[in-house]
């Protein structure tokens, strides 16, 4: 009887001991993994930091402008290219094409002022060599056909 109990306790102690030992090892491995990950995160942060500096350098406005001039067929936006959404006529596309150039815009003062024209690029050379923007009359008072044409002129060709 006594012998059986003793064996039971010895086995129990052995199992617990082994289990504890295994657990300790697993924790130790995880600790090492954590430390490794932390080192890696730090290294990545530093890499990101370097890349951010590089990104900022690559984004020098002057550099971007050079690329835009070399590769894009865009010009700096002119005030004449900005029109209000409310200035545009509400017509079906087919009808608009048919009567383009003749229709005048229905004026709707006080309507929402969404802008149609947006900045496309900056290209000072062309702006400088070009004569001052010819604007016969301020936008809101002009026929929409003109404003539409201005938009087309400024867009990519």
């Amino acid at each position: 009887m006594i012998r059986a109990t003793t064996i039971f306790w010895i086995v129990l102690a052995a199992i617990t001991g082994t289990g504890l030992f295994q657990l300790k090892h697993v924790v130790q491995d995880m600790d090492e993994e954590l430390a490794r990950l932390n080192r890696q995160i730090l290294a990545e942060h530093q890499n990101i930091h370097v890349l951010r500096a590089e990104w900022s350098r690559h984004n020098q406005p002057q550099r971007l402008q050079q690329f835009a001039q070399r590769h894009l067929d865009l010009e700096p936006m002119k005030p004449a290219q900005i029109a209000r959404l409310s200035d545009l006529p509400r017509r079906a596309p087919a009808e608009a094409q048919a009567s383009a150039g003749t229709a005048t815009a229905p004026q709707r003062p006080g309507a929402s002022s969404a802008q149609v024209g947006r900045i496309v690029s900056s290209r000072p050379d062309t702006a400088r060599s070009a004569p001052p923007v010819p604007v016969p009359a301020p936008i809101a008072a002009r026929p929409v056909a003109d404003a539409g044409a201005a938009l087309q002129r400024g867009g990519p060709r």
């Binding site: 530093q46 005030p79 702006a127 936008i139």
Partner: protein, 566 residues
């Protein structure tokens, strides 16, 4: 007394009893065992109770906080500087610096030769000498590139070591050179924002955000550079300021320098014309003469001033640049930039009140500004009659362009002076300021400034739809105490759109020369105003400012002078 065993043990049938001292000793031992047992029993009880408590009663909780990955950014010795949109203007990069311990170096000559071969720009003889010395620490080269570091490691030299160091880099180089400034090799700020925010950059690990917008900065820099080239100017400057908040969106001073290679920068290139330089503003100062006259109520925009004859006072003669020789109203005086008319206006206000007014709008003290390079105004200590006269058209007083811009912005923004700032404000923040002129004066001044661009000296600054307004100024430079005829400072200070000003724009050229396209003129209306036009056009597009219909009755009411001008 000796005791024998026979004395102690008394034979009792069936058992053995103890007597005397032996019995006492055994009693003591038994007590001790009982005590020990009790202690153990107590200890086990405590353990059992605690075990029970821990396993049954208490919520499972961890003895130490869970160990998790550290995801926060690594601490840097010095924080970043960014622009208003977050573009990096200054940052610290980790690099290796190479040093040697001469006591560990085996062969100084060979080591020096190999290092000199690997790293360009090292003086071999000098290094060999230092390596042969007695010291235990010698810098070989600070801030190596990773490639150089690798090359040095491959040399496998004993006694040379690396030290981790941070180096300041400025990704935008000369674009923000004057604003951001630079640090010394030990990372103490020596100029610009690096110096101004030195403490905060060192102690707080979060970036300092400036009000500068590099896109606007680029636009201004390009236009100033183009104008300098076109008119052969020796320098130029421009700035863009939010008139409601005092934020500087762009500040350009040319010639400039690249803070990454600051050693090559001459003092002239480091000189910030906008904040440190002070110049006679010339006619641009007439803005304040007109504002003062309106604000003190000694005249209105229709008041007539006699400009038929030049003014002679003691040995001076004050005349107009383009004499009209007639009686002009205030609007015409301002539009044609008449010196004589401005003197008449100042006379109506008086010497003391003129001085008091200029002090009030912040022109007689250095402006409050974060950058350390600040130049204070120069003006006569004795404000005499002749000073009053010359100051009325911007001569005999020198102020920095920054001060001029800050004060002009108070003139156009409704009359509130706000200190200019290089730090970004939170959007929508109401910035406190000091009222320096009445709302009505400011509104009248906007009309007058619009008139200058609409019909006056700065017509070529006009951008349809943006109601540019401002005042030109051309002043001869003082060289060795005398005015120099052919060396001028031509400037323009203005704002747009004039019905509700948003931005103040300033530009100046130092010693521009007229060319064929300007018919030889080098006055501000010819050399600066066209650049202002391009700047306004590009900035308006950049910020998406909507053009207004200049012919609309409401707009006309806001910006037109209601007196006849010719």
């Amino acid at each position: 007394m000796a005791t024998r065993v026979g004395d102690i043990l008394t034979r009792v049938p069936g058992r053995l009893t103890l007597d005397g001292t032996a019995k006492e000793a055994i009693e003591t031992a038994r007590n001790r065992i009982a005590f020990g047992g009790a202690v153990f029993a107590l200890a086990f009880t405590v353990i059992v109770v605690r075990l029970f408590d821990v396993t049954v009663f208490q919520e499972p909780r961890e003895a130490q906080p869970p160990r998790v990955a550290q995801t926060q950014r690594p601490e840097m010795e010095r924080a970043d500087i960014v622009d208003r949109n977050g573009a990096l203007l200054a940052t610290s990069l980790v690099q290796a610096s190479l040093y040697a311990n001469p006591r560990q170096v085996l062969d100084p000559a060979e080591t020096a030769a190999k290092l000199a071969q690997t790293l360009p720009g090292i003086n071999e003889r000098d290094l060999a000498q230092r390596l042969a010395g007695e010291r235990s620490f010698v810098w070989v080269r600070r801030n190596l590139t990773p490639r150089q570091q690798d090359a040095v490691i491959r040399l496998g030299l004993p006694g040379v070591h690396f030290q981790r160091e941070e180096r300041r880099v400025y990704p935008h180089g000369e674009l923000t050179g004057h604003i951001v400034g630079f640090t010394d090799i030990d990372k103490n700020g020596l100029m610009g924002a690096e110096q101004a925010f030195d403490e905060s950059l060192k102690s707080r690990n979060e970036p300092v955000q400036l009000s500068i917008d590099i896109r606007a900065q680029h636009v201004l820099r390009e236009e100033v550079a183009a104008a300098m080239k076109e008119f052969g100017a020796i320098g130029g400057a421009a700035m863009l300021m939010d008139v409601e908040t005092g934020e500087m969106h762009a500040m350009v001073s040319l010639p400039d320098f690249d803070p990454n290679v600051r050693a090559e920068a001459s003092p002239e290139n480091r000189f910030n014309r906008l904040t440190l330089g002070t110049y006679e503003p010339g006619s641009a100062f007439k803005t304040f003469t007109a504002a003062m006259t309106l604000d003190y109520g000694t005249g209105n925009i229709g008041t007539a001033y006699d400009a038929t004859r030049p003014i002679s006072i003691s040995r001076f003669r004050i005349d107009d640049y383009k004499p009209q020789r007639r009686v002009m109203n205030m609007s015409e005086v301002f539009m044609h930039s008449s010196n004589i008319g401005s003197v008449r206006m100042a006379e109506s206000v008086g010497r003391d009140r003129q001085r008091e007014f200029l002090r009030r709008v912040g022109l007689l003290q250095a402006p409050q500004f974060e950058l350390p390079e600040i130049g204070g105004p120069q003006f006569p200590a004795q404000w005499r009659e002749i000073n009053m006269m010359t100051i009325s058209f911007g001569h005999g007083i020198s102020v920095s362009p920054l001060a001029l811009a800050a004060s002009t912005s108070a003139i156009v923004n409704g009359g509130i002076y706000r200190a200019p700032t290089i730090l970004r404000r939170t959007p929508g923040e109401r910035v406190a300021g000091e009222r320096v002129i009445s709302q009505r004066t400011s509104e009248q001044m906007r009309r007058l400034m619009r008139l200058v661009v609409d019909k006056g000296t700065a017509k070529s600054a006009n951008v349809p739809g943006y109601l540019v307004g401002g005042k030109t100024g051309t002043a001869e430079k003082i060289v060795n105490g005398a005015y120099k005829k052919d060396a001028r400072i031509s400037s323009f200070v203005g704002a747009f759109p004039m019905n509700s000003p948003k931005f103040l724009v300033y530009m100046m050229l130092d010693e521009p020369k007229g060319n064929k396209s300007t018919y030889g003129y080098a006055t501000a209306g010819w050399v600066v105003a066209p650049s202002i036009q391009r700047i306004v056009q590009r900035i308006a597009a950049l910020y998406g400012i909507e053009p207004v219909d200049e012919t609309a009755p409401t707009v006309r009411d806001q910006v037109f002078v209601n007196v006849a001008v010719r």
